[in-house]
C-alpha cells in the first residue's frame, strides 16, 4: 500500500472566486483513516482555509455528507483505503443539488423547511393527561416503523435524487420517509394532516422511483420504499373514498 494518497477537493470562496476549482492535497494513507480524517489533516496541517461540516465522526450526526468520487457518502464512514488502488485522485465535492456556500459546505434551509412541513412528530387528536401514563406500544408496532425512524437527516438521498435536482420544489426522500414513519406509528393520528402536504404535486407523486435514495442511505432507511408504500396507501384511500364515500370520516 502506498504511503500517501491524493485528494482533489472542491474549492469555492464566495468572496474571491467567480467559479469553483479543484485543489489537490497529498495526505498520509493510513489503514484506519476515513475521508473526513484526511480533510481534518488538510485543515490542521496543509490549508486552514478549507471549510467543511462535521461533528460526531461515528455516522450519527449526519453532517459530514459529501460526494466522494461522485457518490453521496458520509465521509466519516468512507475509508481512504477503498480508493488506494485507483490511479486517479479521490475527488471530494459538496452534496449535489444544494447551493454551495463555501468549499464543501452547502445551504440546507430548503431541506429544513420541507422536513418541518411534513410534521414529523406524534400528532394526537386529543392528548391524554400525563396522569394516565404513556402511550404504550408493542414490539411488533415498533417494528413496523423502526426502519424509517433510523434517518439521521444527512441529505445523501437528496444528493442522489435527480427529481430533486430537476424540480427543487419536490419535498424529497428523507422528509417523505419521515412522514411515513409517523403515519404508521400506532400512537400517531396525524396521517390526514400529512396527506394534505404530500398529496400535492411536489409531494409523493413527484417521485418517479429512480430508487437511488435507498442505495445511498447510510442507515438503510429505504426512502424509495417509504414513498411507494405511501403512494399505495394514498391510492387505496382514494379508491375507497370513490367507492364508499359514506365510509369517510
Amino acid at each position: 500500500m502506498a504511503e500517501s494518497i491524493t485528494l482533489e477537493v472542491f474549492r469555492y470562496s464566495p468572496e474571491r472566486d467567480a467559479d469553483p476549482s479543484f485543489q489537490r492535497y497529498e495526505v498520509p494513507l493510513r489503514k484506519d483513516w476515513v475521508v473526513l480524517d484526511a480533510l481534518n489533516y488538510i485543515k490542521d496541517n496543509l490549508d486552514g482555509s478549507l471549510t467543511f461540516r462535521w461533528s460526531c465522526r461515528m455516522g450519527v450526526c449526519g453532517s459530514c455528507g459529501m460526494l466522494v468520487n461522485g457518490e453521496p457518502k458520509l465521509t466519516c464512514a468512507t475509508f481512504l483505503s477503498t480508493y488506494a488502488r485507483e490511479t486517479r485522485p479521490v475527488r471530494v465535492q459538496p452534496l449535489r443539488y444544494f447551493p454551495v456556500i463555501r468549499d464543501l459546505v452547502v445551504e440546507i434551509t430548503d431541506f429544513m423547511i420541507k422536513l418541518k412541513s411534513v410534521r414529523p412528530w406524534l400528532i394526537r387528536e386529543t392528548e391524554k393527561p400525563t396522569s394516565e401514563g404513556e402511550y404504550l406500544q408493542t414490539p411488533e408496532q415498533l417494528d413496523r416503523y423502526k426502519q424509517f425512524s433510523m434517518c439521521i437527516n444527512c441529505m445523501l438521498c437528496y444528493a442522489a435524487c435527480p427529481v430533486y435536482g430537476l424540480d427543487p420544489v419536490f419535498i424529497g426522500p428523507a422528509a417523505i420517509a419521515l412522514a411515513q414513519r409517523y403515519n404508521i406509528d400506532s400512537r400517531d393520528e396525524g396521517a390526514h394532516e400529512r396527506m394534505d402536504v404530500l398529496a400535492q404535486h411536489e409531494g409523493m407523486w413527484a417521485c418517479t422511483f429512480v430508487g437511488e435514495c435507498t442505495k445511498v442511505c447510510p442507515k438503510h432507511v429505504d426512502p424509495a420504499g417509504a414513498i411507494q408504500q405511501y403512494k399505495l396507501t394514498a391510492a387505496i384511500e382514494r379508491f375507497k373514498s370513490f367507492l364508499m364515500p359514506w365510509a369517510l370520516k
Binding site: V100, D110, P162, V169, G211, G225, L232
Partner: protein
C-alpha cells in the same frame, strides 16, 4: 402556506452561492440513472404493443381479407425489427418492475414482513403461469 411552497426558499440574507445547473445529459453518466431512463422509455413500447393489439382486433372484426392484410403488414421487415426492439423493452419493463415490487409492498403476516423474495417470486410465478395459459390456448387451436 400553499403558495409559499411553490418556490424553493432559502435564508433571507445570504452570501453569493454557487448553484450549478443540472445538465440535460445527467442520465448518461451513471448506469443506474440510464437504467431508470430506459425503464421510463419502455412504457412507449408497451403502448406500441397495445396499438398493435387494437389494430389486430380491428382487422379481425373486418373479416378474413383484412386480417390477411394485417398479417402481411406484420411480416414487413421494419415492423419485425420494431417489434423485436419493443419485445426487448417490454421484457426489460416487466423485469425491472417485478424487482422493484417489494419496495412498494410492505406486506406483514403474523407480525413479520413478508421477505422480498416471496413478492418478487409471486410476480414471476404468475407471469410464467399466465404465459403457459397463453401457450396452451395457442397450441390447442
Amino acid at each position: 402556506m400553499r403558495e409559499a411552497r411553490r418556490t424553493v426558499r432559502y435564508t433571507e440574507y445570504h452570501p453569493r452561492w454557487y448553484r450549478p445547473q443540472v445538465s440535460t445529459w445527467w442520465w448518461v453518466t451513471r448506469w443506474p440513472y440510464l437504467k431508470f431512463i430506459l425503464r421510463e422509455i419502455s412504457s412507449v413500447f408497451v403502448a406500441w404493443f397495445v396499438v398493435v393489439l387494437l389494430l389486430q382486433i380491428r382487422a379481425l372484426s373486418r373479416g378474413p381479407e383484412a386480417y390477411a392484410a394485417f398479417e402481411l403488414w406484420l411480416q414487413n421487415p421494419l415492423i419485425v425489427l420494431l417489434n423485436l426492439i419493443a419485445l426487448f423493452f417490454v421484457v426489460f419493463h416487466a423485469i425491472t418492475w417485478f424487482n422493484l415490487a417489494p419496495r412498494a409492498m410492505a406486506i406483514r403476516l403474523r407480525g413479520r414482513r413478508v421477505p422480498d423474495l416471496w413478492i418478487v417470486g409471486t410476480n414471476y410465478v404468475s407471469w410464467a403461469a399466465i404465459s403457459l395459459v397463453v401457450v396452451w390456448l395457442l397450441v390447442r387451436s
